[in-house]
Amino acid sequence: MQNDSNSNNMIIEFKNVSKVFQEGAGDNLVDVSFSIERGEFVSFVGASGSGKTTVMELIVGATEKTKGEIIRPKNTIMVFQKDSLLPWLSVLENVILVLLNEKISEAEKIKIAHEKLALLQIEKLADKYPHELSGGQTQRVSIARALAVDPEVLILDEPFSALDEKTKEELHKDILKTWKEHDLTIIMISHQIEEVVLLSQRAFAMSAKKISAEIEIPFAYPRNAEDEMFMKKIVEIRRAL
């Protein structure tokens, strides 16, 4: 699935990428091709085992391809579905930790950490520890931590799956706000089609370790889940899976 845009604007490209983890165990990814432009919000949607996580691992460099070509930026950060905060550090310390390699003063690191927490409206949680946070707060901290290193691409791995509806709605707004204000490229993995249509500009439907369809979602923000066109898009994606 090639994008016709200017290649200077392209930030990720997969060309006929396949991945085999174990010989004889079958492919984990089969001949996947797509490209993502800088500043886009795209999603990969599909059932468990469809290859979404393998694509993400290839993008962040956690694993290597078996065949094909990958163009990806170096500064890609993934926010996991499961909590990846260090329990012995406070919220602020968890954010500051990722700035360890930055050649800036301690005071500047603290300032950056506070700024990113304020972006997600959780600055008041700076002195709390991870076990004192709710699921939504933990995700916010993980996102704030990711933003602290100014990533080119932010990958969200089913970030809202463990949250209640109200918290999800609030986080959706925060994510969209952060995306627009920082001109980030965001890739979201989800098996919730409604969430994909609510947030993304494009969706890659994955099944049987391949991309089965690339679907444009050209609706303006904020989107209305009760809109007829919204519902039709959900059906379109569901049919592609």
Partner: protein, 271 residues
């Protein structure tokens, strides 16, 4: 004191490490008390020790002997930790992991007491009898610590490892900021078991005269193990009972003032 976020406004070392109030007893009382007790024990071991007459010795002997044994255990424990951490990290990190773990398994299964007579004789000939005791206690403690640390390393969630990789937290930073704190709960449990094994071995470790040719009681190391054996030989039942009470009391005090508090403190490092 260096000003950074990690240091509270109050200039005390307790605030500096952000120790919750309920753990401050540990740092203000238990640890200094342990240091004082162990120092007393070390001085007792290191000083000129008069030949004990087990027929006459009393409760004072039992108490000081227990402190001397504790000092020996602490020295062996520190050495065991220093060796255990790199051994465990090597087994986890290296390509020889498949080879190393079985080697460690076999090593811990070897009954070290079989070799103790040779080890004791070697150290006595070198003029460093204490080395024999500390060596046997070190070996007794080592493998419990190694395997507890390996278990702790295996328990590190994949998300944490991937997060560290993504944010380029590698090398010494990965070791000090992530790995070492993450193993604290398992290391604490391993330390409790290691100390228990150490107490089990003190009689063997201190009663050296049983293992060396023409050995006499004067070859023994002063400690609660040798005191109990000496008291039993001399028929001083009172001293034997005092020694037993001293050991049990020491184990209880250690448990309440050190291990239980460490276990509670280690909770904050659990995922």
């Amino acid at each position: 004191m260096k000003q950074s976020y990690f240091f509270n406004k109050k200039e005390s070392y307790l605030s500096a490490v952000q120790v919750p109030a309920r753990f401050r007893f540990y740092f203000t009382v238990a640890v200094p008390a342990m240091i004082i007790l162990v120092t007393l024990g070390v001085l007792r071991i290191a000083g000129e020790l008069p030949m004990l007459d087990y027929r006459e010795a009393d409760i004072h002997t039992a108490v000081v002997a227990t402190l001397a044994t504790l000092a020996r255990l602490m020295i062996a424990y520190v050495l065991a930790i220093v060796v255990a951490i790199p051994l465990a990290l090597l087994a986890e990190k290296s390509n020889a992991k498949r080879f190393l773990l079985p080697v460690y398994d076999i090593a811990q299964s070897i009954p070290i007491l079989i070799f103790f007579p040779f080890i004791a004789l070697a150290f006595v000939k070198l003029g460093f009898s204490e080395g024999a005791a500390i060596f046997i206690l070190f070996i007794a403690m080592l493998w419990k610590l190694v395997f507890s640390i390996i278990f702790g390393l295996n328990s590190l969630p994949n998300e944490i490892k991937q997060t560290a990789q993504m944010y380029n937290i590698t090398g010494v930073n990965y070791l000090t900021k992530i790995l070492l704190p993450a193993i604290i709960p398992q290391l604490t449990i391993g330390s409790i078991f290691a100390f228990a094994d150490g107490w089990n071995f003190v009689i063997v470790a201190e009663v050296l005269h049983a293992y060396i040719p023409n050995g006499v009681v004067a070859n023994d190391l002063f400690g609660v193990g040798s005191t109990m054996v000496g008291a039993a030989s001399a028929g001083n039942e009172t001293l034997f009972v005092y020694s037993l009470i001293a050991v049990v009391s020491m184990v209880i005090v250690l448990n309440l003032s050190v291990w239980q508090r460490l276990l509670a403190y280690a909770e904050r490092f659990k995922f």
